[in-house]
Amino acid sequence: MSKYYLNYLDELESEAIFILREVWAQFENPVIMFSGGKDSILVTHLAKKAFYPAKIPFPLMHVDTGHNFPETIQFRDDVIEDLGVKLIIGSVQESIDDGRVAEEKGKNATRNALQITTLLDAIESNKIDCAIGGGRRDEEKARAKERFFSHRDDFGQWDPKNQRPELWNIFNGKHFEGEHFRAFPISNWTEMDVWNYIKRENIAIPSLYFAHEREVVWRQDTWIPNSEFLILEDHEEVVTKKIRFRTLGDITITGGDESEADTLEKIATEVAGMRNTERGNRSDDKRSESAMEDRKRQGYF
């Protein structure tokens, strides 16, 4: 075989860098939506590559639900300091305090849906015309339909039945005042690709991804971490388990798996043998079969 071809990880990397540069060239005021999870860390790493030797030329934005793992916030702040870029924070707590949204009630209450308002408010008030996300098409069936450049109307809504055709590597980011785009540079990556790449590049990720001892409660078929936000039912019991998280969301809804994988090597091996999708442990996606599509239409990540 000729030496002039790329292996699949290099091709995915090159594609993502291309998209990031297109975003920078086509939009006035883009941001990377940074959650502290592995996908947004990956996008940030790729952005570093895309603009080297210059700094990443746009800010990172965190939609902070207030229900965080402390480790995630620490990690976020370290990344910002290391990159020397600006951080924009959209606060769900502020949206609640301002009466923009109302807190859900009950034991399974989450702030997941409330983020949509905070995100759209932050996009509007910071005049952001493109929010770059770490969404991947293999994550979820509604995400499988996403374009790389995904149009949002002036209410921030997605119209999946009326998406712009996206051909070859020509991306159309033209939009009217008040509208914005979401861009997904790692659309074509699978969970396995992400881990293989993180391992190959030795990218720093929060300690939560590695197996560690933690206080947890068995709920909805997964280990939910104990935290100040958790309301225990009578029959529920806090136990200590060695677990790791496969995805990171709010501390109130992100379930962990029992695991011994405490190195990137071991994680990659473990993920390769997984028989369930990574979002299977997130109660936000379990609410209904079209939970993600419904949220995305409204403007979710």
Binding site: Y4, L6, K48, E166, M192, E293
Partner: protein, 417 residues
């Protein structure tokens, strides 16, 4: 997993109900790429809808409307990996009104799989899709003669369909066509070899996809580097750094190469090819790099760096095979934004030369209207030159899209003749 695993992109085409979604579901299921919770979800839905077994097609139909109506509306992307390759599948809709989505899915594909219902043989929609595949110059075509279980696995039925298809494909520009008789529903010749069709000597579909030679799909001769953006770090160590960021569209660039910047025509030499990981001696398609030059010349987005001894044509008048993608028809002599690599210009459709009758594949000279799903040869005039190659030589520098300035929508896709 092997380090040198390649990525293969393929698309599915065929008429409604030919079994595209079922085939993909089967490929994923038999190659063990479906997760248990996904299987559980579609098993439940299958039961609710009164299916006998598991309807594997549900695996690709992701939108609410699609699940309710049981059809594919928009392109869905699926991924799977075998020890030999990583695959990206674009599952595209068969309905006529969604042809634009088929074109979308096909534009980046190495392989087009075209499904044919064995009971119906080659029909209009098959012709249309084969034509689109040839127009988009998809290097390889696999014709899946599906639902063989419904025609008693008949070799004669299969051979007749092969002949019918060859009849139409001989009139098109397709080079590599293969045929596979299968039952997507039962999994015959998808991942596993069928025991019902001993007369078929070829490989099942997955093996074919895994072993197909795709390295030569990329143009390695004509070095083209569209500049996406200019990198000026102005930080310590890089005060005078001026890098041209882009992705090699085709060919190979080496340090020290004599280059010309188009359209200005300035010449220089490549000083360095940079990435965060290392400075490189050479870069080939489709690598994303930053190139610096020996001389300080004015270069910006939309310019193209090429090797001085092999230049594309710089032209304001191009002939394009255009596929109209939008509900709103083209307005006579209307102006559009034309997007070509990283270059945006204003453009006008000067003339519709002819239109294809998609059913007979004949040229029609007296109908000059451009409606949704029409495929026409047109003449386009741009306000500034584009640096173009013929699409059949170069899928990147030979393709354009048109954007309607009134709606900002992508209204047409074109291949430069």
């Amino acid at each position: 997993m092997l380090d040198n695993n390649q990525l293969l992109r393929f698309t599915t085409a065929g008429s409604v109900d030919d079994g595209k979604s079922t085939l993909i579901g089967r490929l994923l299921y038999d190659s063990k790429s479906i997760f248990e919770d996904q299987l559980e979800a579609i098993t439940n839905t299958s039961k609710k809808k009164g299916h006998k077994g598991v309807d594997l097609a549900l695996f690709t139909d992701g939108l609410k409307d699609e699940r309710e109506q049981g059809i594919t509306i928009d392109v869905a992307y699926r991924y799977f990996t075998t020890p030999k390759r990583k695959f990206i599948i674009a599952d595209t809709p068969g309905h006529i009104q969604y042809t634009r989505n088929m074109v979308t899915g096909a534009s980046t594909a190495n392989v087009a799989t075209i499904l044919i219902d064995a009971r119906h043989g080659v029909i209009e929609q098959t012709k249309r899709h084969a034509f689109i595949a040839s127009l988009l110059q998809i290097p390889h075509i696999i014709v899946c003669v599906n639902k063989m279980d419904l025609v008693d696995y008949s070799e004669k039925v299969y051979n007749d369909i092969v002949r019918q298809f060859e009849d139409i494909s001989s009139k098109m520009l397709v080079t590599d066509v293969r045929f596979i008789p299968m039952s997507a529903l039962d999994g015959d010749n998808v991942v596993n070899k069928s025991t019902n069709m001993p007369w078929y000597q070829g490989a099942p579909m997955l093996h074919t996809l895994e072993t197909m030679h795709i390295s030569s799909d990329i143009n390695k001769v004509d070095a083209r580097f569209p500049v996406q953006t200019v990198l000026r770090p102005q930080s310590e160590g890089f005060i005078d750094y001026r890098g041209y960021a882009g992705r090699v569209a085709s060919g190979i660039f080496r340090k020290g190469d004599d280059i010309t910047v188009m359209p200005s025509g300035f010449t220089s030499k490549i000083k360095s090819i940079d990435t965060l990981d290392a400075a490189l001696e050479e870069a080939h398609a489709p690598m994303s790099v930053s190139i610096t030059l020996e001389d300080d010349i004015d270069i910006s987005r939309g310019d193209m760096i090429v090797r001085s001894n092999n230049k594309p044509e710089a032209s304001q008048d191009i002939e394009v095979m255009l596929c109209w993608l939008n509900n709103d028809s083209a307005k006579p002599r209307a102006k559009y934004t034309i997007k070509h690599t990283s270059n945006d210009q204003k453009a006008m459709i000067k003339e519709v030369v002819y239109k294809y009758n998609i059913n007979t594949l004949e040229r029609v000279n007296d109908d000059k209207e451009l409606n949704m799903n029409d495929i026409c040869k047109v003449k386009i005039r741009t306000t500034k030159p584009l640096m173009v190659d013929a699409y059949r030589e170069n899928r990147t520098t030979g393709s354009i899209i048109l954007v309607d300035d009134a709606t900002n929508e992508t209204v047409a896709a074109g291949m430069i003749v």
